[in-house]
Subunit: 414 residues, 2 copies
């Protein structure tokens, strides 16, 4: 298959591109390198020293013998170039990661709210309309988010995969209707993925575009077998308050001797997936597209759920790190249950990589190896959901000396 | 009240601005004159000779003694100017008409699809984020569309006003949940209004923006008491295949001796509202905003429903016009029932102006007065929902001589 990876230089896109290339697919990455540009804006870098995309691709060719092509393209702003490219590239499938993907960044400022809406909505719609105009019959796989569902909407019922059947009262008694799970986005970022859903439903119905929407949990881990083949292939590891995701942040914090930053009570329950499973899910989704005329297929791309304070406790017990309870910059419930269905991926062969000491250690080790690259003033989350909400002061302003933790640190094996 | 009318130069915005000014409100119109620019693109003009906005406002001052201010502003592209303007203007309320509003135009080409998405989504989001950033506590009234609901979703139950309560199955039995009526947009234009709904829900919840969304039916008629005060205040009358709405098109067609263009069987049932009631609804909505923290208030802004072929028959019987059954350029059900609730506006004092011979005659008369301005080659609808769909040839290529119709024409009284 010829697969286009839109956003193939990013945290999920890069390992997905390598995984698909490694499987023998012909891969082309399209990316505007916006994630690197946001690093410049936020004055922070990936904890891991990621290499320029050209070097990444050269090294991949050296270690794998496989070619990945690269096109620098801004999906939101270069719609006509995209429409012209599709007939030339003739893809069999397209994976669409090309959206601003951090909830805190999306709430950081009016500018970042607008950027997130403008970029994400236009990227998705430019793609859909380009597929239609160019007559490209490629299966489209899109990275959505569990955050479209909100938390706690469906009571004791597990969150279904995209759709649910409800009873609608009518004068002739209740009628059953299948609906897209009602949207309950918690940030402007999550909002964009709910807007995407409606655009997908329309283009699937009107133009028979074949679309799969993957509602992904929080990705943790950083390396896949492919990114680990050479240090120059290393994946991003974001630890800052905007782009860092909770479990990776805890592991980084443990590695540098920073208390684990829990917002509010830590009673938030979230769904997780390891980066290795993420790439496998993309593969499975590509192999199982919907038929033309079908409504968008929705998978919940998650393997397990955990409460944030339990994760902090676990990482603390493994590493001796302390926990700091900080004000929550988000507007969200302090405590929530979460019960998510993920039957479809399991039925299609996904073998979940669940939280294990080994993997936590591997990830903490990666963090430890690059600890000198941490700017501790970038750790505290400061993007607030409404003006005036309290945030914490920096806990550390300088990188602490490397000291053994009371619980006995895991050795750094490299 | 100081009311901003965004899109106040358009078909609904202009009569709404005059109506509110006439009631004694302080009115400022913001508009980028995009509707006039689209006329240039489509090579067609309003049947009525609308005057430049500056002249409109000068004449209004002469005939009413009231001042309406005008700011030329592109809501989608001049977000920062908008944010800066709000604290200077200090509005009490804002009416948001500033979106591309024709379903056929939104399906006309890839460019027009993208324009509709980009313009409408950004206009709404730039406004919401500007209200938040500037701390402007103005009630926001937005013009939505009945088309967000689709047709026939709820079986024999009438379409509710925005929200409905459904039963969701859980392991502990059904639980009741109020949901936004599931979106079922029939075009890219209607899609944008479903995207607006989700943005409204988010900003109402996160930022306590007070929002009213008006799901409007098809507007017919052209004049209000205010626009009729001077010919230079005349409202738009669109008759072309993209912007003309069904009943006004029939009346124009009857006035020039063109067969009434019914698409498909004409079994489509649609909701209607006269332009006079539209302005009154805007007034009522402004008087009854939701409280801060409330979810968006949704009104169905309609007064009656009719089947398209019944309207053609009615206009035909009044005027002697024949009916031409043409291929339908839209993807939609050939026949549908429609039962819509509009209790809220009725309870708040709306007295519906329903279809009457007198009003039809008034509108046909307006069309007849300006019949020399019709370009008959612009009448046939040619924007198709999918490439390759059939459209009709022009029925007339030149304006026919004025001939009495067999049923005896209504006299033109001017």
């Amino acid at each position: 298959m010829h697969v286009l990876i839109l956003g193939g230089d990013g945290f999920c896109g890069w390992p997905a591109a390598l995984h698909l290339s490694d499987l023998g697919h012909d891969v082309t990455v399209l990316d505007n390198l916006s994630r690197r540009a946001i690093d410049l804006e936020l004055e922070v870098e990936s904890l891991t020293p990621i290499r320029p995309i050209g070097e990444r691709l050269r090294v991949w060719r050296q270690v794998s013998g496989r070619e990945i092509r690269f096109v620098r393209l801004d999906l939101a702003r270069e719609a006509e170039r995209l429409t012209a490219l599709l007939p030339a590239l003739r893809p069999d499938a397209i994976v669409h990661f090309a959206e601003q993907r951090a909830a805190p960044y999306s709430m950081r400022s009016t500018t970042s709210k607008r950027y997130t809406i403008d970029n994400n909505v236009r990227a998705t719609h430019n793609l859909l309309s380009a597929l239609v105009q160019s007559g490209t019959d490629a299966a489209l796989v899109h990275l959505g988010t569990m955050g479209v569902y909100g938390y706690g909407w469906s009571g004791s019922a597990p969150i279904p995969e995209g759709y649910l059947t409800v009873k609608v009262p009518t004068p002739d008694g209740d009628v059953e209707r299948e609906i897209l799970h009602p949207a309950s986005p918690g940030s402007v970022y999550h909002l964009t993925k709910t807007l995407d859903q409606l655009m997908f439903a329309f283009y699937a119905a009107n133009d028979q575009v074949r679309i799969t929407d993957l509602h992904q949990g929080i990705v943790w881990g950083t390396q896949t077998p492919q990114t680990a083949r050479d240090e120059r292939l290393v994946n991003r590891f974001d630890y800052d308050g905007d782009y860092g995701t909770v479990l990776n942040r805890f592991l980084m914090q443990a590695a540098i001797g920073h208390p684990l930053t829990v917002h509010g009570s830590g009673g938030q329950t979230r769904a997780f997936i390891h980066v290795r499973d993420m790439v496998r899910c993309i593969e499975i989704a590509l192999q199982n597209p919907p038929a033309a005329g079908d409504k968008p297929k929705v998978f919940n791309q998650v393997t397990e759920s955990h409460r944030v304070r339990d994760l902090a406790k676990l990482v603390g017990s493994l590493t001796g790190a302390s926990v700091a309870h900080l004000p929550n910059p988000r507007r969200e419930a302090d405590e929530n249950e979460l019960n998510v269905r993920n039957d479809q991926f399991l039925a299609l062969g996904l073998e979940p990589t669940t939280l294990s000491e080994g993997l936590l250690e591997e990830c903490r080790e990666t963090a430890g190896r690059y600890r000198h690259r941490v700017d501790p003033t970038k750790i505290i989350a400061r993007s607030v959901w409404r003006a005036g909400m309290e945030t914490a002061e920096d806990i550390l302003t300088e990188l602490p000396e490397r000291t053994p933790s009371p619980a006995g640190p895991m050795p750094e094996r490299r």
